[in-house]
């Protein structure tokens, strides 16, 4: 009896900080967002506390679904590009001698020491019609007129990939690094081509890293609003811009909260799918390497 009680106390002690953290920083804010979404904007901003579901009728307007779809598309493009760049990079780092790996990992993380805003402005300097890249291209006579590199979907995706690539590389590195080289050697010995051994051995064994990296890039991409603002030239709103506009420009907190809720729901679905995949892997005895 005594030991049971003390074990309960110990559990409480151990879980307490995490639970408090979770409650104060996740549960309460989400509950507040949910609560706000049930009220409406006053004539001059503010919140009028009469319960209604109007915001949920407003949000199914095709225009907002279009913004949401554009955000999902751009985020998927950014995630795919980051995976294509990040996988070889992580592979390269993980297969270097030990002393180099730390150095290379630090280099990957280094850009985070500067604000994303400033780094995004730097891209504007590089990409604009009179920018360094176009000057160089026209200078060596490769093109006659400047190539449109800025203020389009390409520059938004580029900005997101650039911003979040380290989040792809790190989990991939962790997954690749703990892969034993003998497995690939065995596949080769048994006659598998390099492509086949990658597809049937390496890739499945690093699946958890791929899933984590994709999630880490997709989720912040979906909520980003400075990249579409600056590199997209404000021409294409993403859902982050939509939420920001509702809270600030429109002073419509209830509707802004409703849009935020929709994004949270979307993210929850993505996370749930990922959690399911991990659980399935674990059952197959793969992920728990």
């Amino acid at each position: 009896m005594r030991s049971a009680r003390s074990s309960l106390a110990r559990r409480g002690l151990l879980l307490g900080p995490a639970l408090t953290w979770w409650a104060v920083l996740l549960a309460v804010p989400v509950a507040l967002i949910l609560a706000y979404s049930l009220f409406r904007r006053g004539t001059y901003g503010g919140v009028v506390y009469d319960l209604n579901l109007e915001n949920f009728e407003r949000i199914v307007d095709p225009i907002y679904l279009k913004v949401l779809w554009f955000s999902v598309r751009v985020s998927l493009e950014a995630t795919a590009a980051a995976l294509l760049i990040g996988y070889p990079a992580a592979w390269f780092i993980a297969t270097r001698p030990k002393r180099w790996r730390t150095v290379l990992l630090v280099l990957v993380v280094l850009p985070f020491w500067t604000s994303l805003l400033i780094r995004t402005y730097a891209w504007m300097v590089l990409l604009n019609d009179q920018g360094l890249i176009n000057e160089a291209l026209t200078g060596i006579g490769l093109v006659d007129a400047p190539v449109k590199l800025l203020y389009n979907e390409f520059s938004i995706v580029l900005g997101l990939v650039y911003g979040y690539l380290p989040l792809m590389i790190l989990p991939l590195y962790a997954a690749i690094e703990r892969l034993s080289p003998e497995l690939r050697e065995a596949a080769t010995d048994l006659g598998a081509s390099p492509i086949r051994s990658f597809l049937t051995v390496t890739l499945p064994l690093t699946r958890s890293g791929v899933a984590a990296g994709c999630l880490f890039v997709f989720v912040p991409s979906l909520g980003n609003f400075i990249v579409p603002d600056l590199l997209g030239g404000g021409r294409q709103s993403m859902v982050g811009n939509l939420i920001q506009t509702q809270f600030l420009e429109a002073r419509d907190w209830p509707f802004g909260a409703t849009v935020a809720l929709a994004v949270i729901a979307l993210m929850a679905i993505v996370l749930w799918i990922q959690a399911r995949a991990v659980a399935r892997d674990r059952e197959e005895g793969l992920a728990d390497a």
């Binding site: 001059y44 912040p220 600030l248």
Partner: protein, 373 residues
């Protein structure tokens, strides 16, 4: 095991970096907002007012350097200056604190109107601000607050087209030069990104009010702006003048004083108010009802309305100020370099004053979203 820890440590360092980065982005965007993220760093925590110390929030780089020290020295009242980058930014903060945390806030007229309607703006005690008589008589007739009952104008101006005279095929005269650009200007045009000014050219070109709340009119303006989008370089509130200087853009929609930032760097840049008319905006000082230092706040406004203070404001910002006594002291050279400073108050008053949109604001925001999606 070691290995795991190093990866974990790297991830943790990274997460820390992201969190920091997120915070930074947050400030910059509340500051930049949809009006484009400026590089300004705004104080995001509203300071709590304490006795005798005035807490004032003004746009970043909108307060002449000597103004606050001069006021402090003369009156012994301490001032804590907070900064915001946009109206939306400070309104968001006031919304969060229910109209408290500051003694004096600088906002544009239509937002002063909203603050008044929310009951957050204190009535201006004219007897405590004798320098109000330095204002042009016209500055007492601004439609968002006739008689300056709950706000005092700080600067005012209009919006027009800022352009590179050497790059455009002919001098622009109409909003249509922006909305339906000549072939030489296609893809070399920017528009302001904040809702009121994004819609202004189209509304004026169609002959409608800049404060229109008629959904049909707004939709017509929307259609015009959506057609324009193919020829548009970007929606830009913060860097349009540097796009002119670099030659990325030939002509841009601009606030009069901001065009001057371009003119200062390249004298081939010129400014014109289109013939269809434009807006009359005013940036104002509002004393909050929650302030416990209203007398000091009025004293501060009185100090700002001195001719010397007003002159310092124009010298710094190259915006017009409604302070007649200050305008009369201006260096004629300045007026020559920046033609907007020659716009007479009577001319300014012919433009349409921006008002709070009230219940039509969500409709506006939806229509602007349609344009930018």
């Amino acid at each position: 095991m070691m290995r795991r820890i190093s990866v974990l440590a790297a991830t943790a360092a990274l997460a820390g970096g992201i969190a920091a980065c997120g915070a930074e982005v947050e400030t910059s965007t509340t500051s930049g907002g949809s009006t484009g993220a400026g590089e300004t760093t705004a104080d995001s925590t509203p300071p709590t007012p304490s006795d005798g110390t005035l807490t004032v929030s003004n746009w970043d780089a909108y307060t002449p350097e000597g103004l606050i020290p001069g006021f402090e020295k003369e009156t012994g009242v301490k001032v804590k200056l907070a900064k915001h980058a946009t109206n939306e930014d400070i309104m968001g903060k006031l919304e969060a604190s229910q109209g408290s945390g500051y003694d004096v806030v600088f906002v544009s007229g239509q937002f002063a109107e909203a603050l008044h309607k929310r009951g957050w703006a204190a009535e201006i005690d004219h007897s405590k601000i004798p320098n109000l008589e330095n204002l042009y008589p016209e500055a007492n007739e601004l439609p968002y607050d006739p008689g300056n009952k709950y706000s005092v104008p700080y600067t005012w101006g209009t919006t027009g087209i800022c352009y590179r005279s050497d790059l455009v095929p002919s001098k622009p005269t109409s909003w249509d030069d922006l909305l339906d650009p000549a072939p030489e200007n296609e893809g070399k045009v920017t528009m302001l990104a904040t809702d009121r000014w994004l819609m202004l050219p189209a509304l004026k070109s169609l002959g409608y009010s800049a404060n229109s709340t008629d959904e049909g009119e707004l939709e017509e303006a929307r259609d015009l702006l959506m057609e324009q989008k193919d020829q548009l370089l970007a929606y830009d509130d913060t860097k349009f003048y540097s796009k002119l200087v670099s030659g990325e853009a030939n002509l841009v929609e601009a606030w009069d004083g901001w065009c001057n930032y371009g003119i200062a760097e390249d004298d081939r840049i010129e400014f014109v108010v289109p013939e269809e008319g434009s807006d009359l905006w005013a940036d104002t000082m509002v004393v909050l009802e929650s302030s416990e230092n209203k007398d000091e706040a009025f004293e501060f406004i009185n100090y700002v309305l001195r001719p010397e203070s007003g002159k310092g404001i124009v010298d710094l910002l190259t915006y017009n100020t409604p302070n007649q006594a200050a305008m009369e002291q201006l260096d004629p050279k300045l007026k020559k370099q920046y033609p907007n400073l020659g716009i007479a108050p009577s001319e300014l008053l012919q433009q349409e004053n921006l008002r709070d949109l009230g219940d039509a604001q969500p409709t506006w925001t939806r229509i602007v979203t349609e344009i930018t999606s």
